[in-house]
Amino acid sequence: MNATHKETMRTGGLTNRLFQVKKTGAIMVGKTLIAATRLLGRGGTTLPGRMAIRIKADLTEHLAAQLNQGTLVVTGTNGKTTTTALIRNILKAAGYSYIHNQSGSNMSWGVASALVASTSWRGTINADWALLEADEGAFPKIVQDTCPFVVMVTNIFRDQLDRFGEIDRIQDAIDRGLQLQPAGGFQVVNADDPSLISLGGAEGKKRLTYGLELDLPEDNFKNTGRDTKTCPLCKKKLVYKRIYFAHLGHYYCPSCSFRRPLPDVQLTGLKINADGTSRLEIKASGSQICINSPLPGTYNYYNLLAALTCALALQVPESIAVDALETANPSFGRMENFTVDNRELVMALIKNPVGANEVLRTILNKAEKATLLVAINDKIADGTDVSWLWDVDFEQLAAGSDLLSTTFASGLRAWDMAVRFKYAGLDQRLIQVDENSGNALRRSLQATPPGGKLYILPTYTAMLEIRRHLNQMGYGRPYWEER
């Protein structure tokens, strides 16, 4: 791939010169727009890429072809951002240079923006890897454009159905992306998700799987957000020996040969240390690995396994990978901590039932008194259909209501959220509604006593708003800044 592209660029001819002109134009427009949007205090992660690919449709392809090593693409419903952040730490520790698309700008134009931002004004890229988080819908296009060496799929849950229509279509998109990956690469896939294991595209590519081998108490909330329950081959209902959460677990089909493969990378032991970190014992390709991680929750164990599996595919030495994973902090809005006026503020993005349930469960497990602010927007990046709120187990909060002081509902869909709280059985007197996220942030901080804790659970665009308010108040860093 690389060689052919470079060949084309070197040879002369009018078309090629025209191509050069268009490419340089696209890059210049993109870079100018990035500079301009940043001056305006915005992230500049969407518009520049959009305009650049409008000028030169195959810009991404040509830029990605210049990378020294290649591309790594991470997709799936939940865990993309954290997994990507973990791999970033690994690449950094292993001494690689890399380009990445941050802050969830994971559509094809977000990828273009990221590449353009790292390209010189003359159109050259000097980096080893592009590490890309890909939206499931944009996954096939991103794979096609970047010819990744490793593609990773974390899981498929119910998410943003207004966009995909149905879960089957998400699965189709991921399947297509896997097929489009050129031969010779690696596919890193979650073995505990039956909807992934059936997807093809592994011919000529090496598949590495990861999964949990733990005895955990079964999920209490089996009825919410479980999407895949039937065998992908014969449509019979799958039987589970263990369920970790939602439909992730040890499954098999009672009537055909479909069953969970034994993962290449297995989490075999788990202990919560005295300081609240988790000690993970992992079996991978014959060796025993131990990781102490500050990241809480089962979903983060999956993210850690995914990143470690990717490190194995890249042949990064084990000790370097472990070091990198142990020092990784929660990424952008994923249980991220701020200290504001002597109050501990924890921000955790919510976007679909399974993710939100896990966040709620992790919060309630901490068993400390806290204020809660849930901010729901219904813009495109949030998902425009808020019916998913009804599949989230907010009933957990009513059950643990002695832990909650005031609960705020905010965002464009603040009142939908307030109704959800009411029908979840929360004490009506403790629910405050303020559609304006800035006001809600200030009020919820006031409602939190000094030394106390405030949990903020926003959807994506609500998180950007709240982050902007926090920045204006002098806390946190702008979201487009490299960490």
């Binding site: 229509g165 259909d385 464009l412 009142w415």
Partner: protein
Amino acid sequence: MGRQINICHLYPDQLNLYGDRGNMLALSCRARWRGIGLRIIPVEPGDQINFEQCDLLFMGGGQDSDQLLVAADLKKRQADLRRTIEAGMPVFAVCGSYQLLGNYYTAVSGEKIGGLGILDLYTEAGDKRLIGNAVISCGLWQPARTLVGFENHAGKTYCGPGLQPLGTVLKGFGNNGSDQKEGAVYKNVIGTYLHGSLLPKNPWLADHLLVKALEYRGQDSFLSELDDTTEIKAHHAAVYLARSWRHRMGSTRV
């Protein structure tokens, strides 16, 4: 003995796509707050339904693949279902199962999939999904009241001449995006494309279904007034957003 409503929830494992749980929660909370007992009986494919026990039948939306399974199973109960519906059993069907109650569905391939033939309507696969917030004016009440929800369907549904629509589209697409009609009402059957979830934000429709269920079993159907301030605010906020040009610009995918 106090009043009691039994709801049969058809195929909750297969038809549960768009927050249908919210509809169940709305019905059960609003019954409980009034001291009415409410039991939800989940029915799985292959289970026997005892229609004698069912005061309200709820059917949600599902994915295409699941829906075919369900259609096959439901066909076996077609005669029973028709008889009880003619006798006045209330049914609330959303999205996929609304289509299923009709005469047939024509897939993109041209293949005709037979429905239950209870509602005189048919559905054709469209080339683009009809997605977005929707507001309708619903004539179940005099004067008419608004219902607000979210629709997401590829099928375009056309009602026969004798079939009452559930309402007139004020915003959104409705049954087919062209005749300004949304949903259908036949006897005590209500079919609609609206979810969101529909009942929590439109408490008068939830109460309407509770009244019908009580009446069907010959129970006292008086419902005491509840404090619906939050629900009504959510209703109006959603109507406002659905009608707001600015909001549509920020939340419509082209």
